[in-house]
């Protein structure tokens, strides 16, 4: 017996079957096309946050970038180039920008690119460019960074992979006006993507989801190494930190049980986020806690930007259907029904073939039973076999009838859809004719 066919579990599933099931799950997880609507909303919010970061930096730019900044150009470079033993790839050309004029021009350009990212103008270029500029700033601002910079950068990184400019954007407004170019040129189709389901949208979504899981898992594990998250005083030490505080929450000292509950709940929520965010039944609770935790950080711990950005990032677990129009949702449902119909066709054919096979087997058994040379025991065994086949055939026939019924139902639905499609086509044609007529008239004038 080969290793591949050796049962791997008590269920009798072989290793190769289990592997193939995993491969299928991997394939479905990463390569199932998804609508980009959630990403499009996240694009606006993340773009706005990044723009705000750059605008705030502009309020004291030369204190953070340039030769006389808190971390001088040389110092920032030496923190990365191995001068103090550690050389890394976090390189930035901003280490070499000395002139205040050049620094301001560069920052103005960065703000313009980020604003385009937010409003969705030329997103296939502006988002990767905004990401690159952001990375250059990050490698220059070593020492002045915190969680906000991380999450805003990761979200931008994943958005850069997706057609997130296909909705709620200037690109989406331009696309119908350049529809002919988009239909004929792959370049324009890429530059001005539509909002159809795509693998790229799914990959970007999954990457951000998994990155959030890693952040929370290690955030939780590192808290689990401490004492105060277990003994329940951690939240007290967070709210009693004067430098973080934006609202005085020291009244909580009167309710130690609440402090303790919040500390423990935060610890467990972070550790188990990566598991509980996936099942549909627990996802709403996990997201509700995420909202509560980050809204509290935003409101009470002085990190309104970080708290808000974490809430935005958690939005990646929201279904794109939430941001689709009612008509589009209906069309998606109908398309899904059509595909199900195709699959049902296959099922009906298979059931028909199975029934025919069983009938053939029954006929063969009947012929064998007519043989007078058969012993009584053999005859009994064949009869038993024939009864089993008859029962199976009856089951298959019942299934066949049910499938046939379903097929008829779907056929009626398809007919209705086709009629609807024809109707829409007529309306579109009429509109085009009217438009052409109007254009012709204006040319004559």
């Amino acid at each position: 017996m080969s290793g591949a066919s050796t049962p791997a579990s008590s269920s009798g599933e072989s290793f190769s079957e289990a592997l193939s099931r995993w491969a299928e799950a991997w394939d479905r997880f990463w390569f199932t096309p998804t609508r980009p609507h959630t990403l499009c909303v996240i694009r606006i919010l993340t773009g706005a946050m990044l723009l705000y970061c750059h605008l705030v930096l502009a309020s004291d730019l030369l204190a953070f970038v340039g030769p006389d900044a808190w971390m001088s150009n040389d110092m920032a470079r030496q923190l990365h180039d191995g001068a103090f033993g550690v050389s890394d790839w976090a390189r930035s050309y901003l280490w070499y920008l000395e002139s205040p004029t050049a620094i301001w021009l560069h920052h103005g350009f960065t703000i313009a690119v980020t604003a385009m990212y937010m409003i969705g103008l030329g997103t296939r270029v502006t988002i990767p460019l905004a990401l690159f500029l952001q990375l250059m700033y990050l490698h220059r601002l070593t020492g002045a960074l915190f969680g906000l910079d991380q999450i805003v950068t990761y979200t931008t990184l994943y958005l850069a992979l997706t057609p997130c400019g296909s909705r709620f954007s200037i690109d989406a407004w331009i696309r119908p006006r350049l529809i002919e170019k988009c239909e004929t040129s792959a370049f324009w189709r890429f530059m001005l993507p539509d909002d159809s389901p795509s693998v790229a949208a799914n990959v970007g979504t999954r990457l951000l989801q998994l990155h959030l899981c890693v952040i929370y898992l290690f955030g939780g594990l590192s808290k689990a190494r401490g004492e105060t998250w277990w003994n329940g005083t951690a939240v007290w030490y967070a709210v009693s930190n004067y430098e973080y505080q934006s609202l005085d929450m020291t009244w909580m000292a009167r309710y130690p049980a609440i402090i303790s509950a919040l500390s423990n709940a935060t610890l467990f929520w972070e550790v188990f986020y990566c598991a509980l965010i996936w099942p549909r039944v627990t996802r709403p609770f996990v997201l509700a806690v995420a909202f509560g935790v980050h809204a509290s950080i935003a409101a009470f711990l002085g990190m309104i930007t970080f708290g808000t950005m974490m809430i935005i990032a958690n939005g990646i677990f929201l279904s794109p259907r939430l941001f689709q129009s009612k008509e589009q949702r209906q069309l998606d449902d109908e398309a899904a029904a059509l595909i199900e119909h195709d699959d049902a066709d296959v099922d009906v054919d298979a059931a028909e073939a199975e029934a025919a096979e069983q009938e053939q087997a029954e006929r063969e058994l009947n012929e064998q039973l007519q043989n007078p040379d058969l012993s009584a025991s053999e005859r009994a065994r064949l009869r038993e076999k024939r009864d089993k086949i008859r029962a199976a055939a009856a089951r298959v026939k019942r299934r066949y009838r049910a499938l046939k019924k379903r097929e008829e139902k779907y056929e009626a639905r398809v007919k209705k859809l086709r009629e609807r499609e024809a109707k829409i086509k007529t309306i579109v044609q009429k509109r085009r004719d009217r438009k052409n007529k109007g254009d012709g008239d204006s040319t004559i004038e």
Binding site: S222, E227, T228
Partner: protein, 247 residues
């Protein structure tokens, strides 16, 4: 994958609708695995890091992904308020005015840095200076007993001094090139029990401590303070002075 539904609440099209070619999927899968390794290994390395350095296993595993992670700013530990929320660290700067008098400023300061994000950037700089701190040294004997450790000590101390000097230079530049000295301040947190028994204002002067820059030799009882530390104790706001217990 632990996705119990395999899609996003029905947001995705059924898998049969569109299938990418197998070869592209394999390439994409390899790239995804590479990226996910670069995402997950840095926080693991952070957790397994100790005084002896990184865990040998994780240190080896992370090597192919380290540069990629560093470029995309993914070489983070995600240890927010962990393992325990601790005290804040501030920078107190004493600047010489044009008339020769001294004026003091604290970084961060909510009254000086606005909006909050700008304040937070200054706060992070103060924390960065403190995180970079390494005491003066090493003792001469260490070069004989453990030369690599002594050199590492020198390197870390050098790094701290350069960072501190960069900050001093910036403040000098802002102060029209007049003298500036800085020191690190730790703002402690009142314990829950103590606060309940005797409420204290969070900016009470008793909660601030000057962090001296001194060698850590066990046989030195009173090391000489370094030049940058000879500035007055932090000024406390009137509100804090007048704060009644429990206010």
């Amino acid at each position: 994958m632990p996705d119990d539904d395999g899609d996003l609440d029905g947001s995705t099209e059924p898998s049969s609708i569109q299938r990418s070619p197998r070869r592209w999927k394999l390439i994409a899968s390899a790239l995804l695995l590479f990226h996910l390794s670069a995402v997950a290994l840095p926080p693991l390395a952070f957790q397994t890091f100790s005084l002896d350095g990184p865990s040998p296993l994780v240190g080896t595993l992370i090597r192919p992904f380290a540069g990629y992670g560093q470029f995309f700013h993914m070489d983070r530990g995600y240890a927010f308020f962990a393992p325990d929320p601790g005290p804040s660290h501030l920078i107190q700067a004493a600047s010489t005015n044009a008339d020769g008098t001294l004026s003091e400023r604290m970084y961060p300061d909510r009254n000086d840095q606005w909006p909050r994000l700008l304040y937070h950037r200054h706060f992070m700089l103060a924390e960065f200076l403190n995180d970079s701190y390494w005491p003066p040294g090493p003792p001469d004997e260490m070069f004989q007993s453990d030369r690599p450790a002594a050199e590492l000590w020198q390197q870390r101390r050098g790094r701290y001094e350069y960072i501190r000097q960069s900050m001093v230079d910036h403040l000098k530049h802002v102060n029209e090139h007049r003298e500036v000295a800085i020191r690190r301040i730790e703002h402690g947190l009142p314990g829950l029990q103590e606060f309940t028994e005797e409420p204290i204002a969070l900016d009470d002067p008793r909660l601030y401590n000057v962090l001296l820059d001194q060698p850590i030799f066990s046989d030195e009882i009173a090391p000489a303070p370094v030049e940058t530390e000879v500035i007055p104790a932090p000024e406390v706001s009137d509100e804090a002075d007048n704060a009644e217990p429990g206010s």
